[in-house]
Symmetry: C2
Subunit: 144 residues, 2 copies
DNA sequence: TCTTGAAGCTATAGCAGCTAGAGACATTAA
DNA sequence: TTAATGTCTCTAGCTGCTATAGCTTCAAGA
């Protein structure tokens, strides 16, 4: 049995975050020791690893909740899990494209700014003038 | 003079967000009409466009606050603005790398899942088992 | 065995960056 | 003139944590 601290170390999820996941029902309520401290078994560790990994891959806690409920009853077609993964993939591809444009823009900004006064510096200008933008159609989602 | 609605349309920043920016001091308090409605001039529009664009490029509101204060007194060397842009560039490059790894992983997941039962489906498995991961060192920051 | 320091507990509040709702007043087009 | 739309303030909510305070429990060394 693991204490919350050991679980934290072995999954890379911070202690308050583990308690938070329990609080919002993503992890079941942990067993307690005589002194009221949480105790975790291997199953809990695996579930948390699952959550951690899914978070790293960009899944929202809600999507993870869905995936977990799928994996809790594994005798169905996996099309639902697949759909979630596909949706994530589309989202990720879009983020990638926007970030690539963003990178080009920032590189241009940095190159053009080499020690002049701000009045001559295009960092500010580029940020103020949308028409100078390399990417024509950055949408609102680009904000994330 | 523009109403808040027109300003919203012409910048692509939502009305409540504009009010929020005023509230946190990113935009100065707007003039008011006789009927107490906010009115904006060209300068306000430009400032908001600046903010919008910077947000799209991934700058935090704090970084934007700094940039704005720089652009408000333009008679200094622009090294500070440059430093902010450079820091953003590094951050963006790191995000790009992580997203690329993530994309590969999701593609693998989607390919392997073609209508089987969940018990045979690797979407869940891949998410649970870190050792199956293509990226060996996804850090905690990958969560964003 | 005692002690001390780390680790755990609960509860509450805070963070960024918005977004949504309620209920009242202002403006505009037909 | 009337109806629809826009705007106002205020408050509360959202996601996904993170931090603080003040307490208890545990483990290891002297």
């Amino acid at each position: 049995m693991l204490t919350i601290g050991k679980l934290s170390v072995s999954t890379g999820v911070k202690v308050p975050t583990i308690r938070y996941y329990e609080q919002i029902g993503l992890l079941p309520e942990a067993e307690r020791s005589a002194g009221n401290q949480r105790l975790y078994d291997r199953k809990a560790l695996e579930r948390l690893a699952f959550i951690r990994h899914a978070r790293e891959l960009g899944f929202s806690l809600e999507a993870i909740r869905d995936l977990l409920s799928l994996s809790d009853n594994p005798d169905q077609p996996c099309s639902a899990a697949d759909a979630i993964a596909r949706a994530q993939l589309i989202e990720v591809e879009s983020r990638l494209a926007r970030l690539a444009a963003l990178k080009a823009e920032l590189e241009r900004m940095v190159v053009q700014c080499d020690g002049n006064r701000i009045a001559d510096c295009r960092v500010i200008e580029v940020l103020g003038d949308h028409s100078l933008c390399i990417t024509d159609h950055v949408t609102e989602d680009a904000i994330h």
